[in-house]
Symmetry: C2
Subunit: 400 residues, 2 copies
Amino acid sequence: MGSISGNPLGKAVIGQSGGPTAVINQSLVAVIKGLRGHSEISGILGMRHGVRGLVNDQLIPLEGLHDGHLSTIAATPSAALGSTRDKPDADYCNRIFAACERPRIHYFFYIGGNDSSDTCRIVNEMAHEANYELRCFHIPKTIDNDLPQSDHTPGYPSAAKFVAQAFMGDNLDNRAIPGVKINIVMGRNAGWLTAAAALARKFEGDGPHLIYLPEVPFSEEQFAQDVDEMVTRHGRCLIAASEGIRDASGTLLASKIQKSLETDAHGNVQLSGTGALGDYLAALVKANVPKVRVRADTFGYLQRSFCGVTSEIDEFEARSCGYAAAHLAMSGDLDGSLAIRRLSSKPYESMVERIELTDVAALTRTMPAEFLNGHRDVSREFVNYLRPLVGKLPVVGYLY
Amino acid sequence: MGSISGNPLGKAVIGQSGGPTAVINQSLVAVIKGLRGHSEISGILGMRHGVRGLVNDQLIPLEGLHDGHLSTIAATPSAALGSTRDKPDADYCNRIFAACERPRIHYFFYIGGNDSSDTCRIVNEMAHEANYELRCFHIPKTIDNDLPQSDHTPGYPSAAKFVAQAFMGDNLDNRAIPGVKINIVMGRNAGWLTAAAALARKFEGDGPHLIYLPEVPFSEEQFAQDVDEMVTRHGRCLIAASEGIRDASGTLLASKIQKSLETDAHGNVQLSGTGALGDYLAALVKANVPKVRVRADTFGYLQRSFCGVTSEIDEFEARSCGYAAAHLAMSGDLDGSLAIRRLSSKPYESMVERIELTDVAALTRTMPAEFLNGHRDVSREFVNYLRPLVGKLPVVGYLY
């Protein structure tokens, strides 16, 4: 099982899990390239649809792909290996471990959010107990930016860029045909992605005029007052609201609406992939702010999958995380996850660091107080944090 | 009032109307530039929010802007002068004509859809009757592509590109996490924009697997059967449905849902800027196709306003229409609208032609039979028609 380098001789397996991002395949391709040339690696396998493919023996050989194909895959949004929503329990993790032990897989890479890092952690502990060397690396990705220990998470900057460009356009639209416009942005537990709407502001009076995040309790009465105030001030109001906004008791507004609709003949309204929350907020405005045109859009899956809007820094860092995972796994008896440490903002510089699996597994990072501004906006500090990650945005100009 | 050239000496006025597009300001800037250097033009004025600004004397001087500013304006999506939803009747047109006659406006340019061309037509007739020379040009724009006489309409190719890239991404997303995904696309009376989803297909099995257009009567029973068939065949199903789908009697599905929801406490559900139709179709699938994850997104205003996705040919042609309007108005006693004539598809070449206002005013062009393929898809002829207008799309690759 040993080798001259001290690394175990065996196969590597790579999987992708959870909601896709625009750069998740950059990490995948970086792991493949980073493992090349290591004679201890007897094969590189891809899990079809994450750990589900691993336990069902649906694996794809990844070592024979030529560079041109890999570059195309890297630039393709969404999980090229297929993804899964499975959240393995102890029994499932046992099957994962068994599926590694049998064909002598000694290197385990899993690209995903905090559920995925938890899977890595459990499988890793099982391997330790069985005295089987399984080097487990979690490679972070999530558009939600809610993993701890890291300045930000690969996938977030590209999604934030999409949201910023969407709000830039919708601000221009709302300026041309004034009214109240509500946009619902993804992010169940943290407001990072919704907050990215703030980058759309360039000139005085630009929207979004109101930003509502899960971190701040949402009051329907206050909301109606806020909109009325902005309509009086600007003659219009553009709103960014997180799908995860919740009332003072912590109850998701979306789940309250779902309850009230469950008696409806059409039933089963979803918390995501549905326009229910936007329509509910629009109805609130109509009932409370007189004589105003109200529309609501729910950005939905476009935020994580839209083809053609990515942040270059995000692409670069997603690759860096993949390279780091491959390199660290071949550097000794190491396991872990990766975090991005920001070294400076002007010019933007960052480095990738190994962190322990226990530091990231099943934890959620919400927006800190200094990134908030009252109950309905983000701070300048947040904008300064986000701007370098997103890179250049389109230039727009006004006639009035 | 005359001049050596035979052109009346006076001011020009330019306005924008209806839903914004990504290239509507290309036409605006082209008219401004096209009028420069003509000594008969004593001033160029912009209407704030279309004819509403004209009759309310809210006009902006446009002749002193420097080229850099104009280039930025041209590249900015949405109507830079502001837009309006006003659809003038005869009395309103009288006020428009009066607002032109008073300050000696002799050149009238209106960028908009078929309502706008109708406004041009009526104002033009009033000027003729009053023996006042008012050269009226309608400059076409609409993401709906439903104006007659033209191969396509400026604004459509860019919106089609957005829809194609959105479906490319969502196809990858749906492939990574299989299920049923419904996307509602704009286009009340014609399916052109929804049909653009077909450009997302690159490889065998790619979605959209079903495309529903206003041109083909929609049956809820047939829809449920179609989805079931695709789920069996592909293990997933990506659907493009127009907001304008209607039943065999011609009734909009969206209006039927609105009726059923009017008794709801939240009331007033809109036909656009709402997720109601998507949620309704999702509920239909849930009720009829067992054990499948169903989500619905409504693309909404992003289709017409998203900042950063434009077709180069669309930008070019929107400018060409603006230049042509300015040039024709200075070339004799001419009025009219513009149409794009395709000369060849490979390589793509087109020219701009003058057409009569009566040829475009208040008419709607739906998709011809040869662009349809059965009740749930578009034809190869349609894809060949659209592809050169949209230009290059992102390149994607697969591992399985």
